[in-house]
């Protein structure tokens, strides 16, 4: 810049400052843009929320804290882990007296678990996803008395993938994590 002794017009100074500002702003856009682009290059993005069944303690908050009216967390049944028991800890309440489907004997508050006789003494259990509200009562029963084949998981076709999961904020066991597409389902087998 010319170093004139005379006071130059304030407009010119203003323009000069503006130009400096433009240069800084443009530079930072390019710098931040390229850094971020490099960072997210090839990244699939951790946009999916999943429960780690190994960590879940079935506190019951999945049922109440999801932003959806009925939680996106559902009970999933791993048949290959299941013992196909008649006296199922997830199906009947603990200390059940009669093994029948009377409501007072059932663990599931919404009647989402049904079972079918396979062969003596085995029963196949099925979860009706439309009825399940993710309360985790059956999961607690199954992991306490059975093989732990029932577990809670976030169903990706229902989950709206909030930028931050409301349940994760209150999860008592830190079981809900961001995962990418490849691990979008953490299943038990």
């Amino acid at each position: 810049m010319k170093d004139d002794k005379k006071i130059t017009s304030p407009l010119k100074r203003r323009e000069f400052l503006r130009m400096c500002g433009t240069a800084i702003a443009g530079g930072s856009v390019i710098a931040a843009g390229s850094t971020l682009a490099l960072k997210s290059k090839g990244a699939k993005g951790n946009v999916f929320w999943q429960i780690d069944p190994a960590k879940c303690t079935q506190c019951g908050r999945c049922e109440t804290h999801c932003v959806l009216p009925v939680s996106a967390v559902k009970c999933i049944h791993a048949n290959r882990v299941c013992g196909y028991c008649d006296l199922c800890g997830g199906y009947y309440i603990s200390n059940v007296k009669d093994l029948n489907t009377a409501a007072e004997n059932m663990m599931c508050p919404t009647g989402a678990i049904t079972r079918q006789f396979v062969e003596d003494p085995y029963f196949e259990y099925t979860i009706n996803e439309d009825l399940c509200n993710g309360c985790g009562k059956c999961v607690k029963g199954c992991s306490s008395f059975g093989n732990g084949s029932l577990y809670l998981q976030i169903k990706q076709d229902i989950c709206v993938q909030c930028n931050e999961c409301k349940i994760a904020q209150v999860c008592v066991s830190d079981a809900i994590q961001r995962v990418d597409f490849a691990t979008a389902y953490k299943l038990k087998e």
Binding site: I7, R18, G21, T22, A25, G26, V29, A32, G33, L36, A37, S40, A43, K44, G45, N46, V47, F48, P53, A54, T57, C59, G60, V67, P69, I76, H77, A78, N79, V81, G83, Y84, V118, E119, Y122, E124, T126, S143, F145, N147, G148, S149, D157, C162, N163, E164, Q169, V172, S173, D174, R178, D180, F181, A182, T183, Y185, K186, L187, K188, E189
Partner: protein
């Protein structure tokens, strides 16, 4: 909607070797086959591409409208509210993307999706090139307020200045909470998400509706006094390559545009008659500039001291408090769920103390920076308030201007002389 495009991922996941196996695998004799269950992962790629395409298209349309002094902004606003707002239910949004970007900077394990990056960068690039055309009508929240706005009630200058500091503080706090992995403030307290999703937290819904009612009488209260992304964009629009202008021709100082601005961004001519000595003006400016480091240090100290309190926003720090409170009890009757969960995963207080201390330390470091920034924001506001600028014509304050283009049609210089005018 998202169920339409589904990719099926079968039993591809990691085997979790923690089954208790109290009962052996049954030996079926009847030839029973295990049912094959498949779990669908929605393939969002198409939606993501569509979102970004819509963003670019609307940004280009808004830019064209601003440059050519045309008036399709109401249609752009309508499309944005319908598509980004009601159809896509307000997610992905540029305002929230600040947090993902901040998190990606500090957390190597967090992979930011490319569409979030696009939503963060594109509006900034456009703001740098053409002004805040994103705010004009592409952002569904701005568009919603724009659509209901009827009157441009004026808020007194000092009040507007103080309220205008809020977005900056909100921005700094948002980044602080994002980089410490505590919470996403913007997503948690988004006032319009309940309106777009037709339901949600009652408090936030009431807040959102209140904001909309206010924006009937004065333009865009959320954009001016809350939006952190708007604050970020104003940095770029203030020094943008092309500026939003009321008219390309010479201003005739008719004052017609002045009242049309919903965000009070048009500055009237100012003679600056109460002449003061140049030396005095320089002195005052230097005084404020010297005040800046002082305010920054003060802010940094204050935030550093309140790091412990601020860190309560983090889940693990709250858990620490709960466990300490629980273990202090002699004969606890009930155990809080959090504490129960903590013991169930065999957590010990010592481990938790280490975690808590590291979080508080993080808050101390980042909080110091945040406090210094807050001090700087305050000092710059003071400087801006004290600098008197001579203006000969009506000028747009490009940092505050949201490029809605309402002033264009009020300016008589923008009217092309039609045939009917000549015949008169």
């Amino acid at each position: 909607m998202k169920k339409i495009f589904s990719t099926f991922v079968g039993f591809a996941s990691v085997a979790l070797a923690q089954a208790q196996n109290r009962f052996p695998k049954p030996d079926f004799e009847s030839g029973y086959q295990y049912p094959d269950l498949e779990y669908a992962v929605p393939d969002e790629t198409l939606w993501n591409v569509l979102d970004v395409t819509m963003l670019v298209a609307l940004l280009v349309a808004a830019t064209w409208a601003v440059m050519k002094k045309r008036k399709p902004m109401i249609w752009i606003s309508l499309v944005s509210v319908l598509y980004f707002g009601f159809l896509r239910e307000g997610c992905v949004c540029s305002v929230g993307s600040i947090q993902n970007v901040a998190l990606a900077f500090v957390d190597g394990s967090y992979q930011m999706p490319w569409n979030v990056l696009a939503f963060f960068l594109l509006p900034i690039v456009f703001a740098f090139l053409f002004g805040r055309v994103f705010c004009a009508g592409v952002c569904p929240m701005g568009a919603l307020q724009e659509l209901v706005n009827v009157k441009n009630g004026r808020i007194s200058k000092p009040v507007a200045m103080v309220l205008g500091l809020l977005p900056w503080l909100y921005l700094i706090l948002t980044i602080l909470y994002a980089v410490t992995r505590s919470r996403f403030l913007v997503c948690e307290f988004d006032p319009f998400i309940g309106i777009f999703r037709l339901g949600g937290d009652v408090e936030l819904l009431v807040f959102g509706i209140l904001l909309l009612i206010i924006s009937v009488f004065t333009g865009r209260p959320f954009c001016r006094f809350l939006c952190p992304y708007g604050a970020l964009l104003s940095l770029f629009s203030a020094v943008s390559w092309k500026k939003v202008e009321i008219t390309k021709k010479k201003c005739i100082n008719c004052d017609l545009c002045h009242n049309s601005c919903p965000v009070d961004a048009i500055r009237p001519p100012y003679a600056n008659t109460d002449k003061e000595e140049r030396r005095e003006g320089v002195k005052r400016l230097l005084g404020y500039m010297l005040l800046m480091p002082l305010l920054m240090i003060l802010g940094a100290l204050l935030m550093r001291m309140s790091a412990e309190g601020l860190s309560r926003a983090h889940k693990d720090v709250r858990l620490y408090d709960m466990v300490v409170a629980y273990e202090a009890l002699d004969a606890p009757e009930t155990i809080p769920l959090e504490v129960e969960g903590f013991y169930m995963r065999n957590g010990t207080l010592d481990e938790l103390t280490v975690v808590k201390d590291s979080i508080v330390a993080e808050y101390r470091t980042y909080g110091t920076w945040a406090g210094a920034l807050m001090g700087m924001v305050l000092a710059i506001a003071l400087i801006r308030f004290s600098v008197k600028r001579r203006r000969e014509t009506y000028e747009i304050d490009n940092a505050a201007c949201v490029a809605c283009g309402r002033c264009f049609e009020y300016c008589p210089q923008n009217r092309e002389i039609g045939k009917s005018d000549i015949e008169k």
